[in-house]
């Protein structure tokens, strides 16, 4: 059958959108992506979202967005996989086209975060963990990351600022992304001065949760209009894997097995090795998750990813660029929408439209979204024709 291509992308800036709600955010991203695709008509819409039922008291987003974006009664519903919800919606779209059930699919990642005060919003996102056995004892998602960062620093006998390379590279890239929430640079000194969130995890190690909406339009290669204005980007690999919700249910908490499995299957599906891609949009809700991902995927030796980040190996002109538009650490973490931002950013790179952040001769990209501490992991491979 014909290849699946990403014909359109749309993103609103990640931030605190007090003047617009869930539906306005989502519709804006969808309208942008459909316009970018040359006004293709989708026959399904899949939505990635985690918190709308708690924060916006709104479910059944499929009906909401097909109506408000005037998509005319097409199939539509939500995929939920915590922070990997957006990537799960994308995978639903890929599977729908691959199976022949749909020709053109719109995928929306949308998250409204900023309507609640901090402690209530923290309580809402606790549902992505093991609620009875992690949340009730008073842990949060940030605490989960703090727990494993502590163990990582201990096992490899590292100083407290070992992971600062990730925040520095993310902020260096995010400064040039028009959709990113932070435009500031991070220095070793500012990192060292930063306040603690969940010791030893500091404010630069944890991405800021924020509102966001991003959308994609997928279609079959043979359905692209003749005058299609963009380079053609194929989805050549897609895979998902799962692991326990909590660290305490894993034999090797630092192994990030689901991330390793999703990346290796998606790469195998595409017929490439993970280390051969031009860039890797991995998932960095916390800097330690970036380190564990690189090590799990065989792109860094165990206990060494932090050193490679410091040495510039993952910078825009490094050996394997990651977080090329700032990642969660600088772009912000729009939770259920982040998987779609990652893919929109990778498409921007492969189209050669990444401006100051352009990876030279970008031909292929790997994306990986995590739900929880790689409890869910969903990977895609994109290639430019």
């Amino acid at each position: 059958m014909s290849d699946i291509v990403i014909a359109g992308i749309g993103q609103i800036p990640v931030g605190e959108h007090y003047t617009i709600g869930l539906r306005e955010m989502g519709v804006r991203a969808l309208v942008q992506a459909l316009h970018d695709s040359g006004d293709l008509k989708p026959d399904a819409l899949y939505i990635g979202n985690l918190l709308s039922s708690m924060i916006s008291h709104q479910s059944n987003l499929g009906a909401l967005f097909t109506d408000y974006a005037r998509l005319g009664g097409i199939e539509s519903y939500t995929a939920e996989a915590a922070g990997a919800s957006g990537a799960a919606a994308l995978r639903l779209g890929v599977l729908a086209i691959r199976s022949g059930q749909a020709n053109t699919v719109a995928v929306l990642g949308v998250e409204k975060w900023s309507d609640l005060v901090r402690s209530e919003a923290e309580a809402a996102i606790m549902q992505e963990m093991d609620y009875d056995y992690e949340s009730i004892p008073g842990l949060t998602s940030t605490g989960q990351a703090g727990l494993i960062m502590q163990r990582y620093l201990n096992d490899y006998d590292l100083p407290p600022d070992a992971l600062n390379g990730f925040a520095m590279l993310a902020h260096a890239n995010g400064a040039h992304n028009p959709c990113s929430i932070f435009k500031n640079q991070v220095s070793p000194e500012s990192y060292a001065r930063s306040g603690m969130l969940c010791d030893p995890l500091n404010m630069y190690d944890g991405a800021t949760y924020a509102d966001g909406a991003a959308a994609l339009v997928l279609t079959r290669r043979d359905l692209l209009p003749k005058n299609f204005p963009h380079p053609v980007i194929r989805v050549s690999g897609s895979a998902a894997s799962s692991d326990s919700l909590s660290w305490h249910d894993r034999h090797e908490p630092m192994a990030f097995n689901a991330a390793a499995r999703a990346v290796s299957s998606a790469a195998e599906h595409a017929g490439i090795l993970p280390g051969q891609v031009s860039l890797f949009e991995l998932d960095d809700p916390f800097s330690i998750y970036a380190a564990l991902t690189l090590e799990a995927c065989g792109l860094a030796d165990r206990g060494k990813a932090w050193q490679m980040a410091r040495d510039g190996e993952f910078a825009i002109h490094g050996r394997l660029p990651i977080l090329t538009m700032g990642g969660c650490l600088a772009r912000g973490n729009p939770i259920g929408a982040k998987g779609i931002y990652q893919v929109a950013e990778a498409v921007t790179q492969l189209r050669g439209a990444a401006g100051a952040n352009q990876v030279t001769n970008a031909r292929s990209a790997l994306t990986l979204s995590l739900g929880g501490p790689a409890s869910t992991a969903i990977a895609h491979v994109l290639e430019r024709e």
């Binding site: 901090r118 402690s119 209530e120 923290e122 309580a123 606790m126 093991d130 009875d132 056995y133 992690e134 949340s135 009730i136 004892p137 008073g138 842990l139 949060t140 940030t142 605490g143 703090g146 727990l147 494993i148 960062m149 502590q150 163990r151 201990n154 603690m196 969130l197 969940c198 010791d199 030893p200 995890l201 909590s246 660290w247 305490h248 249910d249 908490p253």
Partner: protein, 135 residues
Amino acid sequence: MENPRYWRLKKQRYGLVGEVCPHCESKIFPPRDVCPECGSEARTEFTFSGKGKVYSYTVMRDAPAGYEQNAPYTVAIVALDEGPMVTAQLTDLGEEKVQIGMPVEMVTRKLREDVEKKGILVYGYKFRPVMRASN
């Protein structure tokens, strides 16, 4: 507050009651009825000793709703002597600095305030440093 939910889990919260697999002898906490090691059915109750060691720990500073009064507080992953790991708050730390490998034991304490004003507090297990007779 979902009252039946907290009532259902009282054995786990107050007594650290899990399971032992009748096939491979693995000790299981929390109970899950399917042995995570061998995949067999495992429904035999087993009460853990409550002794263990700190696998890792962190300090919660931005506490979620219901936990603000205790913030900052320490949460640890505790490797129980019988095998499984549990996530729990550390308590009664005094001036003691938490360290990976530190021996701890279970105590029962208040976990969460009554955020919904329904007169119900959540109690359950926390862990404290093992008392040393020589001190």
